[in-house]
Subunit: 99 residues, 2 copies
DNA sequence: GCAAAAGTTTCACTAACGGACAACATTCAC
DNA sequence: GTGAATGTTGTCCGTTAGTGAAACTTTTGC
């Protein structure tokens, strides 16, 4: 495990993604493209300061699967994506259609 | 086809969903839940004044499948949802994660 | 440089699901 | 009521999302 002068998760997140409550810190969005979902999850995971293994455990899957999703090797099912976001990232998934 | 005093599609859409450019007319969003995606597509389709069959044809699928999606009998694949939104509804799909 | 942690890739496997097709039901205009 | 248009439902099948474990590579701390 990497050691640094940062001791709390909050410090980590604030340093890398700004203070809590800012859009930059709390919100991640993308126009949908297959190959961007991986990046979305990847970023969200880092913002939460989690390793793939930790995320996997919270969701009830394996780190190898998380890796494949982040690298867009497997397409995620919407229901699985929801599990990852809600259980793993403790966030909320939102869907928007612009006509 | 139902006949009425409305003669153009634009009139239909304006009457039922407001003027172009308004949020009410152009935007549909939902916190992700399985059973809400159907309603989202259903609403978007009506806003566009399309039948299930017309939508299906534009996307390259069948009306029976569209029906099942709208009624939440089948979960849509993300890639298929994208096709429906972009090809069928001529809209744009957006995905957001709230942490 | 070394070791440990984190991430990637491969392989084998299969239950579950997406999506097609055709038949059926409903709604609507007249 | 009747017929045409629209929407729903049952059945079926090929594809694939997801598992699990192991081997491998990259990154990191010291």
């Amino acid at each position: 495990m990497k050691k640094s002068n940062i001791t709390t998760l909050e410090q980590f997140k604030e340093k890398n993604y700004g203070k809590r409550g800012t859009k930059q810190r709390d919100e991640l969005e993308t126009g949908y493209e297959n190959f961007k979902i991986g990046a979305l999850i990847h970023e969200a995971r880092l913002k939460k300061g989690l390793t793939q293994e930790q995320l996997a455990e919270k969701v009830g899957t394996t780190k190898s699967y998380i890796s494949k999703i982040e690298n867009n090797i497997k397409e995620v099912r919407l229901s699985t994506l929801q599990k990852i976001v809600e259980l793993g990232l403790e966030g909320h998934l939102q869907l928007k259609i612009q006509l």
